[in-house]
Amino acid sequence: MRIKVQQEAFDLGAEISAHAQPEAGAVVSFLGTVRDYSDAADILAMEIEHYPGMTERELERVAREAQRRYNILDSLVIHRYGRLAPQDPIVLVAVWSLHRAAAFDACRYLIDVLKTSAPFWKKEITPAGARWVTDCPGCRAGTQHGHVHPEVVEEL
């Protein structure tokens, strides 16, 4: 179980190789990138604020819970903060297990739970100014695919 909260960019392949598990038959990874939340404005950058100390604690708690719930060998969570550009990687969750089912389930669990509990806040920087991204019930549920973001509805 490894947690990294950092400003620096990371490389998915390099991180997976660096944390290789000899007994693992599966590694499932999720890579989150900076996306354009809004149809109305161009996103120039995304600023991510966090709560140093609590962030690490909370990510460790979620990773421990994944370890308890699923039959996995190891997990890695990297979350960036600071100023990011569109398409930059923000978050990486990787899970190693003997067989694929546990790795898929645990990876999904980790990203869904950290989105609602780890103290990070995104601010979009657009040509018209900056604004905080608000949380979305659909994203929070994690299982509602294809939902519309409320703030986008407002602007249409």
């Binding site: 609590m54 950290l114 989105k115 990070f120 806040w121 995104k122 608000t134």
Partner: protein, 80 residues
């Protein structure tokens, strides 16, 4: 002392990232800390969707506080 921290839109609304409160009899729970913050800063946070942490763990506003605690207020998280 109770160490109070603010993050993201809450920090911006208050124009500060932290303040120190005397631990007093009237400050029994996280909700009392918030009332003190509002009276000191003159800002109203009651309309905002607020979350709280005590010593870096998510807690409800009814959570008891003690001298030396770190209490934080912030909006719903949007990481990932």
């Amino acid at each position: 002392m109770i160490h109070v921290k603010f993050f993201a839109s809450v920090r911006e609304r208050l124009g500060r990232s932290a303040l120190e409160l005397e631990a007093a009899q009237a400050v029994r729970c996280v909700g009392d800390v918030l009332s003190q913050v509002e009276s000191i800063t003159g800002a109203s946070l009651s309309g905002a969707h607020l979350l709280a942490a005590r010593n870096q763990v998510h807690v409800p506003f009814s959570e008891a506080v003690a001298d030396g605690d770190e209490i934080a207020f912030f909006p719903p998280v949007t990481g990932g």
